[in-house]
Symmetry: C2
Subunit: 215 residues, 2 copies
């Protein structure tokens, strides 16, 4: 991945000053995401569905049931678009026009690669579990062949990609600013709530440590 737009399709056309193409920015945004919104063309129509995701190296990995909506329609080479968005705040300007939101997003276009190799499939599924909760995979039994067969794993190379970031306060026209009208940012914050053990969990078992607590 270069620091320049790698594809005409993923060039940020609007507000190019908000565009970022460097790997560190793209990876940081992807790594914070549990879900990507994945678009594909199904029967001639666009379909967008949310999928659990994890970045593994220079690929974004998705998984789903082999019977699922669009993953089952994805064969190697099918063009897809996977988009991740973190909403960071509501930007309250002094005009409707300049009202905005702070966000960080990544748009990734590419061909989905179906992962058939069993060892690679296991490795990528393990990464998805550990992305949910780092270290969790080691606590669980191995997947059965039936489970592996029922699961489809696809990977999209992080190549034709762009990131877009807006941060900071409103950008009002000077003539719109009135000291008596509040302007600024209302942050949107997301984090972990109190873990809720199910009835099968013994009371003596400690809840998972939530490392790297979310914003």
């Amino acid at each position: 991945m270069s620091t320049a737009p790698s594809s005409p399709n993923t060039r940020v056309r609007r507000l190019a000053e908000r565009a970022h193409y460097d790997a560190a920015t793209v990876h940081a945004i992807l790594d914070e995401a549990y879900v990507a919104h994945v678009g594909a063309i199904v029967d001639g129509l666009p379909v967008v569905l949310p999928y659990a995701c994890a970045r593994v190296g220079d690929e974004l990995v998705l998984h789903g049931s082999t019977r699922a909506g669009i993953l089952s329609a994805i064969a190697s080479g099918t063009p897809v678009c996977a988009t991740v968005t973190h909403l960071d705040g509501l930007v309250l300007a002094r005009s409707a026009f300049h009202s905005s939101m702070n966000y960080r997003s990544v748009v990734l276009q590419g061909a989905a690669r179906v992962v058939d190799d069993q060892q690679e499939k296991i490795r990528l599924l393990d990464a998805l579990v550990d992305h949910l909760l780092p270290g969790r995979r080691a606590e669980l039994r191995a997947s059965t062949q039936g489970e592996l067969d029922a699961t489809q794993v696809v990977a999209i190379r992080i190549d034709a990609v762009s990131a877009k970031v807006r941060s900071g306060g409103p950008k009002d026209a000077p003539e719109d600013v009135r000291p008596d009208l509040w302007g600024g940012v209302i942050p949107l914050v997301c984090g972990f709530g109190e873990p809720q053990p199910d009835a099968s969990t013994a009371g003596s078992v400690a809840a998972p440590a939530l490392r790297g607590a979310r914003r």
Copy 2:
């Protein structure tokens, strides 16, 4: 919108017990969303971009610059898919296979209608601002003709739509449950942070009241 799948395209194919088609469920999920991930076919490829959204009656309203990526490619009748997802929790099961997430999502397919009528355009843009912060629109000046001309508003009828909801704890196979292994849900909670006034806001001006504070 009926309580049955209204289109073969939006029928939930996988885990149909998680599917909901009633208007109340669909509207509640849409009304909690600031952003929809909107997919369209551009130059033969799927493109998914995040857009601010607001439900107005039985339509989902989006807006953007007339120079923007996919809205500029949307003419009346263009098929689009707008998807909203709220992630509610990480579901930690005793196997990788049953690990999951709690979520509420809506998938809406339809034809984007470009809103050209000036009065309707103003009304829908007002709704978008008030969706960001209820009551905010009344505090702002009217939009100029130039601002209106630079903004494209589209509406998608909430018709071919489905919602999907997962809630509750892990659904482990009985033989996987071990009392010494924690299983349950780690809630993901999102809410408003402390409002951050910009430098132009007088210290005496109260921050906006955040009615209907988010989860």
